[in-house]
């Protein structure tokens, strides 16, 4: 037998329901906490959702946040936030800052004249400064974007739940949707906790998490369905444990390969998409957890109709 890297032993029989109070309780607490965090601290919405302007600056001279702020103060633009951006992919002579200016007016994007004034003011501080990225979103669009984003996530949940209902039983559909909601809510909670920038790309990340998490859940369900036919007399709880154990190696393998590529992106992908990649990475971790610990608990509680008409007994395999 050639050497193989094994993440789990060939045959495991972990009782995944043993600490059900702890695991499910932790999930419940995390969901409640996330909702409270979002309600109390709010999300650090990017300009996609709240309107306004962001300007990225790049200069060979170190960023002087106070000087930038002083230069912009006379323009009277309202709330201006300036943050320096650090990234391992930057060269030694590269100093990047991100300037965010609140929306002016109630509909339109920022006027080009205003942007020119801002750029001129910053050039006064640092003549070598360049502006590789300028984005401005009017409040009219940003208000709509929040709703489309929310709708997208809801539609994805409903669509996925519907598909699983069609392919399996309704209990599976409910279990999958609860697990998905758990993943999305906790991920959003983390964004509220650390006040990370929440914009449209993060919504794309949430949708990706949905896709990944349900992928994982479906694989477990698929095995569960197969085992339910095989072991007609075994209690549901044990069949579930068996199914999760049988697919455990695959679950961890896939999580690993996905995490490997995500970590490569996290380190080398640059700061522009770091928030996006972070959201997906976190989502993959929690999605893997939820398909083992959340989705099937729900199915167990809802119960499944067992076909007892034919007495197959405990036949290990059909061949």
């Amino acid at each position: 037998m050639a050497w193989r890297l094994k993440l789990v032993r060939d045959k495991t029989s972990i009782d995944f329901f043993r600490y059900v109070r702890v695991t499910f309780g932790a999930s419940l607490v995390a969901v409640v906490l996330s909702v409270i965090l979002v309600a109390v601290m709010g999300l650090n919405f990017g300009i996609d959702f709240r309107g306004g302007t962001t300007i990225r600056t790049d200069s060979p001279v170190p960023v002087d946040v106070a000087a930038y702020r002083a230069a912009l103060a006379p323009l009277g633009l309202g709330d201006v936030s300036i943050t320096e951006v650090f990234d391992p992919t930057f060269g030694p002579e590269q100093h990047v800052a991100q300037i965010r200016i609140q929306a002016q007016g109630d509909m339109e994007a920022m006027a080009p004249e205003t942007i020119r004034q801002v750029e001129a003011a910053l050039r006064g501080v640092d003549p070598a400064i360049t502006f590789p990225q300028v984005e401005s979103v009017g409040p009219k669009v940003s208000g709509e974007l929040i709703w489309t984003a929310l709708l997208a996530v809801l539609a994805a949940c409903v669509g996925i739940g519907g598909y699983i209902w069609m392919r399996f039983e309704w209990q599976y559909g409910v279990g999958a949707v609860v697990a998905l909601a758990h993943d999305v809510i906790v991920t959003v909670g983390v964004f509220a906790l650390f006040q990370l920038k929440f914009d449209l790309t993060i919504v794309a990340a949430l949708l990706t998490i949905l896709g990944y998490s349900v992928n994982d859940t479906v694989v477990v369900f698929d095995r569960l369905r197969e085992n339910l036919i095989k072991y007609k007399k075994m209690p549901l709880r044990d069949v579930m444990n068996l199914s999760v154990n049988e697919t455990l190696s695959r679950t961890l393998m896939t999580a690993s390969t996905v995490l490997i590529s995500l970590i490569a992106l996290l380190i080398f992908g640059g700061d522009v998409i770091r928030g996006f990649i972070f959201a997906i990475t976190f989502g993959v971790l929690i999605g893997t957890y939820s398909s083992i610990y959340v989705a099937k608990n729900i199915v167990l509680w809802l119960g499944l109709p067992r076909d007892t008409a034919t007495d197959g007994g405990e036949v290990p395999n059909e061949a």
């Binding site: 502006f131 984005e135 009017g138 994805a156 919504v203 990944y212 393998m253 490997i260 640059g270």
Partner: protein, 554 residues
Amino acid sequence: MHSPLWTRVLIWTICAFGLLYAMPNLFYGRVERHNDAMAAMARAGGAATPEQAAAIALWPDWLPSGIVNLGLDLRGGAHLLAEVQVADVYAARIDGLWPAVRDALLAERGSVGAVQRLAAEPGTLRVRIANPEAMPAALAAVRALAQPVVTLTGVGQSDLEVTAEGDTLVVHLSEAERAATDNRTMQQSLEIIRRRVDEVGTREPTIQRQGADRILIQVPGIGSAAELKELIGTTAQLTFQSVVQVTGDSAAPVGATQVLLPDLNDAATFYVLERLPVVSGEDLVDAQPAFDQNGRPAVNFRFNPAGARAFGDYTAANIGRPFAIVLDDEVISAPVIQSHIPGGSGIITGNFTVEESTQLAVLLRAGALPAEMVFLEERTVGPELGQDSIDAGRLAAVVGMIAVALFMIACYGLFGVFANIALTINIVLIFAALSVLGATLTLPGIAGIVLTMGMAVDGNVLIFERMREELRQGRGPARAIELGYERASSAIVDANVTALLAAVIMYAVGSGPVRGFAVTLGIGILTSQFTAVYVSRQIITAWYRWRRPRLLTV
């Protein structure tokens, strides 16, 4: 575990085509220059300049030349989301209707009495008549002006809604007419923006209608959103209006049918003009930069027959009186009509520089936007940041790919190598599909490809794990391979369909970068279903038939 010959041929043919269509991306710069030169030659009418011929020779004609489009965030450029103020057009339509309404009512003067236009909100015409008892006659007269709307849904509806409020006649555009007008306005705006952007000659601009009244404009390679806005945002509404009075008073009283407009060059001069233009920019067929008899920059223009007739009649009737050339609500000049101008052509002079006269000619030639645009969203990405993003994405992709490949070999040995071959073909197919579809690659799109690499091996992981299980249950190698594929397939299909569902929703609601991500993710899911299941099975079957191992180690 034989698969019929035709499936084998089909699978490898698809792979070969994938390779062929993905290949141009390896020679991105060359193929791009070749394509640009081909497009330029086609525009010029088939004759290539020596440089173009050299650029065309960079890539052989018989090879596919589709390459992945780079999105704005990778190439640099500007993005605008504009809302067209479609209601502006209603106001113009209603204003244009007034003379006809007046004439219709004057014909009924005997019963209706004197008529007077009242001030009203834009898009509404209010007319007071002296004898309210004659309102039915007045309504009938005005309703006779209405015409049926020609749309798919609004057949039989008339374009005007005429109602009475006491002694006042109120005229609106009907619902059906408004919808039809909106549609025309949007089409016209799109066409005009397209022509103006094309004048700059940039590569692959995106100009799309979004929703009822929005237009998305993406132009790669342009310096900033402000520049793009200047190009398309300047409405260049050219009109010729008759001058009632020239005044220095910025608050001069004006009648209901008149407007007060400032002079472009002299802040102390104002003109009281008739609101209804004699001729408008819509009747313009050509405009060229030129010089007047004193050698100053000017713009020559020519009207279509309808415009020429209106202009000719007007000049014949008003010799010795001034008329105003108005551009975007500012009077460029107000020359006195020297003689009847029958030919329908003329010259606009003002204090222009050569550059300004050239730009004005371009704007006039492209036509006026039918309505004002409000910009809701503007994004600019510089080319350096785009290049940085490409480099970062490429590095991440290479590192991710190597790491995943090593991990797969560590876990599955030879079978890991098979999975890696399938993965490589998968990436080739993603690029082939993106090139053939003409899809746009964005930075999140690159992330989508990298993520797909991680998810694509999932199919193989499922299959290999299943094979191991079957082997543990004591099945022979051939049977284990077969059952591994058979029994893993339902999980793979379900998992892929649900993930694809998320990608489709993301594409439907997302914009720009998010869409780019959804596209690569969706294509990646489809191609990975193909490579992880069909291609890897071909490889493993071929290997098995060659080696015939008695013991199988996955």
